[in-house]
């Protein structure tokens, strides 16, 4: 990118907080926010634990009239968007709304709304289904609701790419701002997979932890006793604009998007290529795009899939790309505390990374007990670390090997 893209506002709805302040304070404690699923009876599901958002209704600014028309994933996106807009100090009455866009990532769609309405349709016939079903469930609904709510008319898109959805949305958004197509972009993702059908679908991929008896200890990336990742729900949205424009507006920025690298394994529809060459390529491309040396990187926010294959490949890629330099880079997967938010995950990782930069802290990977001989790097286990972070990478991997790496810098 020619000019750096500034992150001038953040909004977060997550299992460990519905405001950036609580979100950060909770993460710093290094404890788990994974609990048994309580929204419905999940007792027969192989994996029935998740990071769940509580009390969304207490934090909302939306009317009951709007809430009943939308799925909870749109609701979370609207709450996070409002936070990001306020945080960025944008004066919505005095900006050109045709130059504000919305770029979202989502993997599954809005099933809580859809499942309920479809059930009613099968029971009551066509009179039973809400007319809002059509506009509530699909993956681009949150993008549409956000643009309608604020009257934004700029170029907007929604990207669906499993766990790399919001990584690609953020990159797409940054590119659109860099190309001068929009002045502002709200970018990020949202996911609400804790519904009877969506949780069942997620269960069938076989990568979820079944440690239902110990939810707090279930998500343990890079640990020998891992048995998969844990789902989470929530939304992360950031405001992106050009560095020069943020400077002119005189707003404090959290950091800058500096580069991206991406690649596809091109191997199998759901499995990773059994060697790490494609992930390595994405990391190399990102470093090239950001014009960084390997030694410049201070921190890497990891994917941390908590599967034997996922963790091994990620570790292998880091070793092969960075060589001995990896010893000086802090690594961690803070999502081990609140779960993997699928389509929203990279947006949360970006927020975690810029807050870590702001607070000179490396958040931990929790639940570490026993070393895996194939994952022998220092992943900042269990306890946060004080360290100045100037340059950081974020790794996102979708099913079947959609590899995206983002470069973020503080100053």
């Amino acid at each position: 990118m020619n000019e750096r893209i500034a992150i001038s506002g953040i909004g977060v709805v997550s299992p460990c907080g519905l405001k950036k302040e609580t979100f950060w304070a909770n993460l710093k404690r290094g404890i788990s926010f994974i609990d048994p699923v309580t929204r419905f009876d999940a007792s027969l599901y192989p994996s029935r634990i998740a990071g769940q958002v509580h009390d969304l209704d207490h934090y909302t600014h939306l009317s009951g009239r709007l809430i009943k028309k939308i799925d909870v994933f749109s609701h979370m996106a609207l709450v996070a968007s409002e936070q990001a807009l306020q945080d960025s100090a944008i004066d919505l009455d005095n900006v050109d709304k045709t130059r504000i866009g919305v770029f979202m990532g989502n993997a599954l769609g809005g099933w809580l709304f859809a499942e309920t309405e479809l059930r009613d349709m099968y029971i009551e016939g066509k009179q039973g289904i809400s007319p809002f079903m059509a506009s509530a469930w699909f993956a681009a609904a949150p993008q549409g609701q956000t643009t309608i709510y604020y009257g934004f008319k700029g170029y907007s898109k929604t990207i669906v790419a499993d766990k790399a959805s919001s990584a690609l949305a953020l990159w797409y958004a940054a590119k659109i701002v860099a190309q001068d197509k929009n002045d502002f972009v709200l970018a990020g993702g949202m996911e609400a997979p804790i519904t009877p059908y969506a949780l069942l679908c997620a269960n069938t991929n076989g990568n979820l932890s079944k440690n239902n008896l110990n939810p707090k200890e279930a998500y343990r990336p890079y640990d020998l006793y891992r048995d998969g990742f844990v789902l989470g729900e929530g939304s992360g949205i950031v405001m992106l604009e050009k560095e020069s424009q943020a400077g002119k507006r005189g707003v404090a920025v959290y950091g800058f998007l500096k580069g991206i690298g991406f690649s596809s394994d091109g191997y199998h529809y759901s499995r990773y290529r059994p060697d790490s060459s494609c992930l390595e390529y994405a990391i190399e491309e990102c470093l090239k795009d950001a014009a960084w040396n390997k030694k410049d990187v201070d921190y890497i926010c990891l994917d941390g899939e908590a599967t034997a294959m996922g963790d091994y490949l990620e570790t292998q890629a880091l070793k092969n790309v960075f060589g001995s330099a990896i010893g000086n880079i802090s690594l961690s997967a803070p999502k081990s505390m609140f779960g993997n938010l699928l389509g929203a995950q990279t947006a949360l990782d970006l927020i975690v990374t810029v807050l870590s930069m702001k607070n000179n802290t490396v958040l931990p990977t929790i639940n570490y007990l026993m070393e895996d001989p194939y994952c022998d790097l220092d992943y900042t286990f269990n306890k946060a670390l004080t360290r100045e972070i100037k340059k950081a990478l974020i790794i996102a991997r979708g099913r079947g090997g959609i590899n995206v790496v983002l470069a973020v810098e503080k100053e």
Partner: protein, 77 residues
């Protein structure tokens, strides 16, 4: 409760707005700014509530409560 008040109650509950916002002699679009999808819900709820069969093109955004009451009356007979 007369028929008009009953209709206002049904519509305001369906849309999740205050009863006072739905005005008897104003078009629904002017008083509460309904959109066409909301109107589908309004018609379906009226049909269920009164046990009648209104069509979605009979009650529209530009109907007033008085007009809707006349229609409901006619259909009930």
């Amino acid at each position: 409760m007369n028929l008009k008040e009953e209709i206002i109650k049904v519509i305001s509950e369906t849309l999740d707005v205050k009863e006072g916002e739905v005005k008897e002699n104003e078009k629904l679009y002017d008083s509460v700014g309904v959109d066409s999808t909301e109107m589908v819900e309004v018609v379906v709820t009226l049909n269920k509530h009164f046990g009648i069969k209104l069509e979605t093109n009979e009650v529209t955004k530009s109907s007033t409560i008085a007009e809707i009451a006349d229609l409901v009356e006619k259909k009930k007979e």
